[in-house]
């Protein structure tokens, strides 16, 4: 008999992460199994960042061009202000987000984002450059830029997941190990050794079955002390 699922509660929050957490937890409480969502059978594309000589040269070229002299902007004519010095096009965050999302979800825009993610560009860098360009064009204010950082990053992450890419979120963190996960793993291994030492059965979920069988076979030998006298 199929498990009865409850209707999800309406949820609203002032940031995407909170809303996501509440919705997923509510779904679990309501009887939805997250494992029901089918996983892609194909191996993900690894978006590993590659450092090439050409890339380094380009960065050096860009940085060697120099920067504006402090106060240089004050010498500009008042009649020709920079776009970001004029009133922004969007003041309502909803309208601004709609505009940016429609640009990102546009097939052409999404294609560029997928390519960039696959080549190792991080979600942070992409969203920062999109929003900074919007600010530089005088479309949004710096405040809006910060307010929209989270939803834009989630949108790019969503595109990456849909394209089955293992992408960097920040810098080159694709193979980053979570410090808490690392500690947890170390503790498990520690417990495993003590279990073997005390002749306890190791937990199957921790150790693969094949290794368990090997341990079973070689158990008496493992339990022997290294200093014990061998059989003559």
């Amino acid at each position: 008999m199929a498990e009865k699922k409850l209707k999800l509660k309406p949820i609203i929050a002032d940031n995407v992460s909170d809303a996501t957490e509440k919705i997923i937890l509510n779904a679990i409480e309501s009887g939805y199994n997250l494992n029901d969502i089918p996983e892609s059978k194909e191996a993900p594309v690894i978006g590993k960042r590659k450092i090439t000589n050409e890339g380094i040269d380009e960065v050096v070229n860009l940085t060697s061009k120099g920067r504006a002299i402090p106060g240089q902007s004050l010498t500009n004519s008042k009649e020709q202000p920079y776009p970001w010095e004029t009133p922004p096009k969007f003041t309502n965050p909803r309208e601004a987000l709609n505009n940016i999302v429609s640009t990102i979800l546009n097939p052409k825009g999404a294609k560029h984002i997928v390519n960039a993610l696959a080549k190792g560009a991080s979600v942070t860098d992409l969203s920062l450059s999109i929003l900074y360009a919007k600010f530089a064009n005088g479309e949004i204010t710096p405040d809006l830029m910060l307010l929209l950082s989270e939803p834009v990053m989630y949108t790019i992450m969503g595109i990456g997941e849909e394209a089955n890419i293992k992408y960097n979120i920040d810098d080159n963190d694709i193979n980053e190990v979570d410090s808490e996960d690392e500690i947890e793993q170390k503790n498990k291994i520690k417990n495993l050794f003590s279990e073997i030492k005390n002749n306890q059965k190791p937990v199957e979920s921790v150790v693969p079955r094949s290794i368990l069988e090997q341990i079973k076979k070689q158990g008496p030998e493992i339990r022997k002390s290294l200093l014990s006298k061998g059989e003559k």
């Binding site: 029901d36 900074y132 830029m145 989630y154 969503g158």
Partner: protein
């Protein structure tokens, strides 16, 4: 740019936090799958449900994806393309304020002298009253109505109206048979009739039927009220000014015209 990067980096920690919270609730789930779910749900919420349609894929067809789509249909029920709360509010305030202006004008005719009354009657046919009439149907009347009410007393209205009447009579714009003249006459006579009827009938008594404790009945708005209360949203105006995310958000799964409509300035209640 350094501080900007720092702000953007915070999202990574937020994603990790969500991952930990969900992992506590679901033990047997692979890290990659969990991350995929968080990223997809986040993208769906960030785009106001648009991403579900854009991505399609396995998530949208899953029971969980469907539950999110259906869970966010509170506002879609009201047919969002035609649901324009600001216009509705403008119409309501416009009609009520124009009504008040009309009432003040009629009061002027009854209390002022015969000359003033004539003036008021003429004013009824004047351009100001005509604007009020337009206001009764649409939003523009809001401003006109406010000004007329502000001038208050019959005498003032009478004298102002007289001037208006003189002006309009010379121009012969409000003569019988002209569109503006006919509309103005019709509306003001309706307003006047309404006022007289109200005077005859008096204020309605507070009547009602005591129904006892209401126990039964499914109320969708109750759930919404809880969600908004949890998010500490006390003022409806905040929903339009700030970005909120979730299935209870007015912008979720309802397409965007709601936020792209022409809005009218809402006048503070008198």
């Amino acid at each position: 740019m350094g501080f900007l990067r720092k702000k953007f980096k915070q999202v990574k920690n937020a994603v990790k936090k969500v991952g930990k919270a969900v992992k506590k609730a679901v033990k047997k789930i692979t890290k990659s799958k969990l991350f995929k779910i968080i990223a997809t749900v986040g993208a769906v919420l960030a785009t106001g449900g648009a991403a579900i349609g854009a991505f399609g894929g396995s998530f949208a067809s899953s029971a969980f994806g469907q539950a999110i789509i259906n869970g966010g249909k509170f506002f879609a029920k009201f047919n969002p393309t035609s649901f324009k709360p600001f216009t509705a509010a403008g119409k309501f305030i416009g009609s009520s304020l124009a009504g008040k202006a009309g009432t003040a004008a009629v009061e002027g005719t009854t209390t002022a002298t015969a000359t003033a009354a004539e003036g008021a009657a003429a004013a009824v046919e004047g351009a100001a009253a005509a604007e009020g009439a337009i206001g009764a149907g649409g939003g523009f009347g809001v401003q006109t109505g406010t000004l007329a009410t502000g001038q208050g007393g019959g005498g003032t209205i009478g004298s102002v109206a007289k001037g208006a009447a003189t002006k309009t009579s010379t121009a012969s714009k409000l003569a019988k048979g002209t569109v503006i003249g006919d509309v103005a006459r019709n509306v003001i006579s309706n307003v006047g009739t309404g006022m007289v009827m109200q005077q005859i009938q008096g204020d309605p008594d507070n009547t009602g039927v005591v129904t006892g404790l209401n126990l039964a009945g499914e109320n969708h708005l109750e759930n919404l009220a809880v969600a908004y209360s949890d998010a500490n949203i006390k003022n409806l105006e905040d929903i339009y000014k700030t970005n909120y995310y979730g299935t209870a958000d007015v912008g979720f799964n309802t397409d965007v015209p709601l936020f792209q409509q022409e809005t009218l300035q809402i006048v503070a209640p008198i």
